[in-house]
Symmetry: C4
Subunit: 276 residues, 4 copies
């Protein structure tokens, strides 16, 4: 019994190294196969939506869909079995994405067209960063997301203010412009304000009266300045986050702003503590 | 009499804490109720503008409008009564917004459609920052607006230059392009220049002659560089403003704006305290 | 005779102070009158281009045009007479603009519509910075233009590279797309590339084939990165130029990075030299 | 024989100085002639694509095309003959561009319209930086490309994430919007997402249902924040790369990347030379 449990544990550990890690040959091999399968299944979903292709090769796509879903289902169950704390995996970002990648095929029985939601599988492609130079990319991602998280409050404040501005401008344009120019109600006015302020400018709704065009000009020039704000926030945070990473104080003189690479203090020449 | 005045003062103070502050339970409760009412009244204005909804539920919206206006009117009068310096409140940003939130309903008697102006109530939603983590958000807002205020002059100069450029380009395009392409007069040319320089690009007016397209190309590439200027200004100011916020005051003369690296006060030469 | 020359010189100096400077009351008064006249004459040019207005008030505009041109002609001649080195004034930026502001009215005899060029008068409005807080705005302008001048080479290199890229992409799209989508020749393809890369996107020319849309997607995402380059250049130069302005070295210890406001060195407490 | 070999070597060296370098008068002269020829041949390709011009002057363009191709072919063969390591030249960036500049004329025998690919000759114009102030521009280019190379990983990560986002949004819009609004399949949805997220906004495909417009608004506001990321990356790298360029080397160990403020080497603790 003990021996069997041992064998079981060994088998689990081996499977864990292959499926969850990417250090060994077979681990890399499995991840590569998985990524190709994910990519092909996403491609199948995308191509199936094209009317002409669906008409000619519809049954092939149906088969492919079920094969991929079956493969991902087996993989998902395997992951739950071999991981030590299954619940932690299920609750994790990739655990939820893995589950969501299987569900739409089943949903397609009930709602026609639900298989388009299988596009969510593309999120699994993010695993690719695990294979190629994992740590480096994760470092960059951490730096990026740290900068974004640090400016979370500024961005919330900024979006809230923009939403209020956009509502008022949408209502003003609805009052000024005749319905013929597309401003038939305030929600459409707000939609137009967002399209204009973000400088997308489809042109499906556009002011035609002189007064409307004057107000629109003000909004655009305002948008000019407003677009600078998130850029300023992110750039500023990025500079700061780099400094945070770089910063060790000298134990002798207290000087700061030492690069990651520095071994000695730039102010007094004292040896610096290693990076923790 | 004294007792009554006392009771009166107590009542006023209690009401002041509930209506103007958000520290106590009832203060938070009142602010939450108020924000929900503001949000619902803004939503009602937005939805009422949609033709199909107005036809079916028009009378309900009329009732909602009067109930909200009545509620806000009572609240406004209460605020004036209980605040110590009513005139200061009336002249403040929120005082003016509170008044403007009530007026459009009355204006609607005279001008049809004036109730759309009630959208201005959405500005009252800015009070939301008072309830959730007040000080932090205000700190961020202060930092943002400090950066914008500090670059006020640069931005004025920039907008003035852009307005002059845009006028000249609008007139040039009006000379080059035939009226069929939409350049029927100089104001429309200026409107097109703004739409193009801000990279909005509706496409309702677009050059069709080769010469016009060449000039437009120059304008677009110029706009490429010009859009970098406000971003540069704001980013630059933000970096600077962070320095200001981070700095230590001198214990001798109170001067601020010392860099992280500074050991002595730049104003009086006193030794600075270490960075905590 | 000497007395008369003296009177003449005095009269010239007085006129010089009024017309060229803005320190005295009459100097400010003259500049204010001039700016109003310039603004009104520009407004007249803009409004006259609107067909409906020209039909109804055409003769008034004709009169206004001649009165303004006469006024500016007299002013121009006066400036040449009273300035000490007339040729320097004529060759200066404002001298050329002043001359160009008068010419179009005369040109209008030969070429119909040439009066639209009078819009160039709007450049004279830049004098406004002379009246209100002159030095401050000039300081800002100098800082802005120093940053732009310093990044002159980088911007030239950038624009040259963009022009070559845009030519190649325009030719590729002309090969891929059928003429029905608007890509009738390479110049139109280049025009489309510029419209797309600058994110203006009129939509008058847009790819319709799948291959064309894939290539267009690559161009847009590339444009995403490319738009970051001028912003990065200007922001970077602005940070640098601010530091340049702020920089004095301590004569005792050689430390740098002292703010404009600093009186003492942050490193050793020594008194700093004044800003030269 | 030796003498002849000598003469041959001398002739080669002379030709090398003229064709590959731009220091002597004849070197500059040759480069100038070459650049004019390249520019004219590119212009010919561009103009020939215009239907009206081709009809009238088609034969002239045919002649010009063959003359230019012949000239460039001779030049290419000369370069291979006179350079010491021909294979290194052929494999270099300019070697490949030079070859690609000749091929399309020959390809045009087989595929009609292939001569449009001759636009690739415009890449040869990059040689222009060799003539005018070579080193300075190359310095700028190096700085720019260093900044871009340093942020290579961040940009890859960013584009991969954007591609996945764009796929999911494209599929969601395909589910929400009816085919009449242009979302006929997922690839078109993805194309629309890219057009919207990059703020190009042609307007050939645009949401018409209220739900679709709400989702589109979210995408646009998200795009607002996303556009800030590459700008932040490039600006941040540019600031960093400037630090690298500005720095002093340690006289003891040769380490670089010392800040302006540093007094001691961060690598060996040696005293640094003062900033010159």
């Amino acid at each position: 019994m003990v021996e069997q449990a041992n064998t079981n544990a060994k088998w689990k550990e081996k499977a864990f190294n292959i499926i969850f890690k990417a250090d060994t040959f077979w681990g890399k091999f499995f991840d590569a196969i998985l990524l190709v399968a994910i990519f092909l299944s996403v491609l199948a979903v995308v191509l199936e939506s094209v009317g002409r292709i669906r008409l000619n090769y519809g049954t092939y796509f149906l088969w492919a869909e079920w094969i991929f879903t079956g493969f991902f289902l087996i993989e998902y169950i395997l992951r739950i079995i071999i991981v030590k704390k299954p619940w932690n995996y299920i609750k994790s970002f990739f655990g939820i994405v893995d589950l969501l990648s299987i569900l739409p095929s089943l949903l397609a029985f009930v709602f026609a067209g639900a298989q388009s939601l299988m596009i969510i599988r593309s999120l699994r492609l993010l695993r690719i960063f695990r294979i190629f130079k994992l740590t480096q990319y994760l470092g960059e991602a951490t730096q990026l997301s740290t900068a974004l998280m640090a400016s979370r409050k500024k961005i919330t404040l900024f979006i809230a203010t923009v939403m209020i501005l956009v509502s008022i401008m949408g209502a003003v344009m609805y009052l000024i412009e005749p319905p013929e120019s597309g401003f038939t109600d305030i929600p459409r006015g707000i939609y137009w304000s967002i399209v204009t302020l973000t400088t997308v400018g489809y042109g499906d709704i556009a002011p035609i009266t002189p007064l409307g065009q004057i107000v629109a000009s003000f909004i655009m020039i305002m948008g000019y300045g407003i677009i600078a704000v998130p850029t300023g926030i992110v750039t500023s945070e990025m500079n700061r986050s780099r400094f945070k990473v770089d910063s060790r104080s000298c134990e002798n003189c207290g000087a700061k702003q030492h690069g990651d690479f520095a071994k000695f203090c730039h102010n007094c020449g004292e040896k610096l503590p290693p990076i923790s």
